[in-house]
Subunit: 216 residues, 4 copies
DNA sequence: AATGAATGAGAGTTCATTCAT
DNA sequence: AATGAATGAACTCTCATTCAT
């Protein structure tokens, strides 16, 4: 029964870290404050993590591992590329929209330095990008996505759009439901902003859906 | 001509700061290193800037003021919304793609903290977003952009896509020409990733899938 | 007995500070030198004191608290005003004459600024003045001290005389016994410097006491 | 006509220094602030003074030279020791009571360090003490002052009493006339605080003088 | 004589990390 | 495993002084 208590402590430290990093920023965050919030002694943190930076790294890794697994499941359960993209967007926005502190850490604190970013890109973010690229590729093979699309550009544009939704949501602090933006974002990604040259007066039905909210 | 030497010194400090911030990151950057690289004494920096943070802030403000002005000119000289978006994208990518160090500072260092970000958003970034939103609105009025588009979401998606191009370019370190991505990004933004349903009889089945509902 | 080591460390820092302040002066004193002399790390000082200034303030407060208590006891155990004044003078001179470094800190370093002085006056020095004034008042009521005396002026003159004995002793550096000056100072304060017009050939006994040494 | 302007500048610097030292304290005083208040450039100060400390030293020396001369005159013009002491006290208190800023510098700033104090004592203060001692000695020879008095102790007590009047006046900040304390202080010094045992009815005339006012 | 931009040495303080208990 | 007192390296900024003009 030693493990559960131990695991509990580790988790408490991680949760405390999310809060402190989010409120103060990684550099201004004090290890002693994380310890205090986690209800452990300063030194105890070093029984579970190598260093302050290690806390941030593990945080990212663990959240990402969880997300990656679920993301994989979700995608596998859907057949067509558009639905898959929609599901990805929704998960992405729901995961971060559900925990503002975590979102702050992911959007802001994890981007402290080129080295940090390069490292994360190399590990999890690379996988995420690969997942999106795969779906796009599949869409192209199946003929639902334009074959003349540059896959990499499309992948980055897709991710960049989602990423910006999250960042704006954090900064805006308006508290709207982030996940609701999944639909309009994916719709825009698929159909584009321009009026389809041959399409008639546009579909009023869809318009109603796509409009709606979407705070800044 | 009263202080060419003085202005020169100020500029040298700013340029040195870009380099040092880019290589070390804002926090790890040492004021003394900036001074050394600028060829001035440590104390001299404080004749031109209030603090280390002030250097970063001025850097951002001055680059942004310059960009904002040129961005305004560029947009005013073009009539249609699509061309304007293309011009914005090109300027955006060219401005950052032309100076990797500056790009690093803008993509990474300036996003150190929510406070920093909120502050920059409030000043220049807000104007930039407004400019994009205006162009989109105009396009909607003129009937070239879909009227059922959520302007804010579209603005963020547009910016987010560009932003991610820059970030990926920095991290990739591959050294390709960033500005070349302007065309595909804008094309994707305008036409979308999906195959246009009516342009060619297309595959009805798949088209139905791509249309689908508006999501959630 | 929970923290003999801790208390010991605090005391060692205070003692080291007295020495360093006395030799170098408050401003020129280096925190690192105090730490070294106390046998602790620089940072350790900040576990016990808020700042360099705080060391000085605590030093004063703690010495004064101790002195004030003993001074009160001494005075309460003596009935007549003259004896009480004599006891005060003796304690005052003995307290500072027993530790030259401490005396330097009290006579010189603590008077660095009007703010410092005002602050100390407001706290302990005010109490000390009040004690002296009380004794003088009592003497007047009892008819041993002249009723036409301005109490406040007398209080300041009494304190000023003692204070100057200490200062001169410090600067002179001759190393005589400061406490021996208590008798002549109080004698002068009580009887005055002038020849008592009606008093006969003067009292040889007291003269012997008042003369003695007391070099500057 | 070069000299007057130059002398004027030197004087302006000295006057500015008195104000700044008094308000900020010697250490916190900024040379640039003195320059600004004197209406000269920072560098100009170094044409007239060797260093910041030199300003303080000159300040003291010049004021003291002036005072010493006048003090000498005053004393020479009076025959008896008691009158001379009264004149000294009055000059002392009037000189400092007439210029609070100067008084602050003399009472507080000049006592920054044992070295400072020792130095000043060695030069002017030593002369001042010698003057007082001489007068006391003379009084003893003439039989107006007690022969059994320790001259040095009496000198210090006399000076200390005056010194404390000034310090209290500065700290109190009440703004009463400092010079008015000369009479009661000297009266106390000469006649003492105790009721003269044999002079029963006491001298009403002197009593009236000794009472009077006398700020806090 | 006067200027004031430039210099650069210098120190208080913080805080991640360690380690004796 | 847990503690938390102790460590000490590290860094921004200030300001007396200089010197080219």
């Amino acid at each position: 029964m030693a493990r559960p208590k131990t695991e509990d402590k580790r988790k408490r430290i991680l949760q405390a870290a999310v809060k402190v990093f989010a409120r103060k920023g990684y550099f201004a965050a004090r290890v002693s404050e994380i310890a205090k919030k986690a209800g452990v002694a300063d030194g105890t943190i070093y029984l579970y993590f190598k260093s302050k930076e290690d806390i941030l790294v593990r945080l990212f890794d663990e959240v990402m591992a969880e997300q990656a697994e679920e993301m994989g499941k979700v995608v596998r359960n859907l057949p067509a590329a558009p639905e898959r993209l929609r599901a990805i967007a929704e998960r992405h926005l729901r995961a971060l929209g559900g925990n503002r502190d975590l979102a702050v850490v992911f959007q802001v604190e994890l981007r402290q330095s080129t080295q940090f970013m390069a490292r994360f890109t190399a590990s999890w973010l690379g996988d995420y990008f690969a997942l999106i690229t795969d779906v796009i590729e599949q869409g192209q093979r199946e003929g639902v996505l334009r074959a003349d699309l540059n896959k990499k550009v499309a992948t980055k544009a897709f991710f960049g759009a989602l990423d910006e939704m999250v960042t704006s949501w954090i900064i805006g602090g308006k508290g709207y439901d982030l996940a609701q933006l999944a639909a309009p974002v994916v719709d825009l990604f698929l159909r584009g902003a321009a009026v389809s040259k041959k399409s008639a007066p546009a579909r009023p039905a869809l318009a109603a859906v796509a409009t709606g909210r979407g705070g800044r």
